[in-house]
């Protein structure tokens, strides 16, 4: 079973990202589960969301404490939340940042300037779909085709197309390393 933890702030789309990842994994033929943990219900507050992916139906329903992968939508959270908590050995962390990030526990860190891509392509600093593209590229745990299909299902019309384009760009950048 693959377990993923998303860290974001209320309104950034971490919960939607976790759901898109689950649906994309299902599209790939896997079983899936995604759920949020809200701190308080307001924009800007730290939020976690979780996705589980497996070859068989998933029963367990507690939070993810030992993730294989962590996705951080906002590097400002690094100062307030231990995003590395419980990360499995060999685990990977994908962070939206244009700054340097110090690793802990020897975690493999993948920096993505998702805000830059978002402003460029979407015109707004919404980074969730871009980080999903990067996630597909870095981990290979889900196909980029499935991610793009579910992004287009989730956001209709031009917004869906632009998000898909941004995700693909982040995917290709991640594949190059």
């Amino acid at each position: 079973m693959i377990e993923v933890r998303f860290h974001g702030r209320g309104g950034q789309g971490a919960v939607t990202a976790a759901e898109i990842l689950a649906k994309a994994a299902f599209e790939d033929g896997k079983y899936c589960q995604a759920f949020p943990f809200f701190g308080v219900e307001r924009r800007g507050a730290p939020v976690m969301a979780f996705t589980r992916i497996d070859d068989k139906p998933i029963r367990r329903r507690y939070q993810v404490y030992k993730p294989d992968y962590v996705v951080v939508l906002d590097d400002g959270l690094l100062e307030v939340v231990d995003v590395f908590s419980g990360l499995k050995e060999g685990g990977k962390v994908i962070i939206n940042t244009s700054n340097g990030v110090e690793t802990t526990n020897g975690a493999e860190i993948h920096k993505v300037d998702a805000t830059g891509i978002a402003l460029d392509i979407l015109g707004v600093p919404i980074v969730n779909t871009i980080l999903l593209g990067a996630f597909a590229g870095v981990t290979g745990a889900v196909s980029i085709d499935a991610i793009i299909k579910i992004i287009k299902e989730t956001f209709s019309g031009e917004i869906g197309e632009k998000n898909a384009k941004a995700a693909k760009l982040a995917y290709e950048a991640a594949k190059k390393g």
């Binding site: 649906k23 899936c32 759920f35 943990f37 809200f38 029963r59 329903r61």
Partner: protein
Amino acid sequence: MVLKVMSANQAIAEAVKLANPNVIPVYPITPQTTISEYLAKFVADGEISAEYIRVESEHSAISAALGASGTGVRVFTATSSQGLALMHEIIFAAAGLRAPIVMADANRALSAPLSIWNDQQDSISERDSGWMQVYAENGQEALDSILIAYRVSEDHSVLLPSMVCIDGFILTHTVDPVDVPEKGDVDKFLPPYKPDHAYLDPKRPMSIGTFTDPNYYMEARHDMELALEGAKDVIANANAEFAEIFGRKYDFIEKYRSDDADTIIVAMGSICSTIKDVVDEHRDNGEKVGLVRVRVFRPFPTEEIYDAIKGASNVGVLDKNISFSVGGVLHNEINAKMDVKANGFIVGLGGRDIKPTHISEIIEKTKNTTKTTQWIGLNKEEL
């Protein structure tokens, strides 16, 4: 069967669409809100022909539901926590007036302290109302339970409302694969509601909900008791027919590796999924551990639970509720109604996450049966 990835709230809304109620009075409250949003959209898009009433409170939502049900039509509403508490007065009236309303409750802690997170105190606190209560383990069961609830509630020998309880966030906001049945199959299982005799119709005037003097009140309450007990046969038949049409078999309880178990855990709702994983781990270590999941809480399946647990040396009952100075409600009902000495465990109040280590701790503590109540998962530093 086509599986779609959706939350239990969406699954409930899909079930309601399939059941096609005539009136939906609903007031939003976290974590039920997306149910009311999905239903509002279905109505706005013409996918349900129901009257969607935007009321000003939960007391009004259930009052409107009761009034609508009194005209002999199918009704749905949904709430959670404080909303259910605000409904309390009319919850009892709805059961007493024998209104076959179906309601979803997104299980959430009651204030104070104020909490939006999950436990089952809200619905458990309505246990004496005369409503039937089902606790779903997952989104699929949430959907299916709504359809079965209408079938049972509207049976002329029952005519009692049903509450389908789903754990807040743990189910309401968790997406996983769900099969949404075909409309044609649902129509076979759940034909349109035809009221028998007691309903409001200008062509045939009558009063419902009149003042009752001491000559009649006890008979009315006794009839409710008979109807709720009698509902067991109706539930069993509905479950059997549901399995025949949809291929999913539900029962009053679910036994998981409990037949030969020395130690049995009894619980309700979504936590049972995690418990099954932990039971498998203990079985792999050669320990005879099992789970009995109570699915139908009202009517209370005394015989089914007793048959399932009587062979075990140790029984531990999990409650996401507390009746202060008494303990967990399911625990105390099992000990009161059955010749067993079960241990009680209070868990997961106000969204405290229940981890596999907590379940293993409970299994260990259950092996020393003392019939006591213990709280699991408290922060040690705050004790």
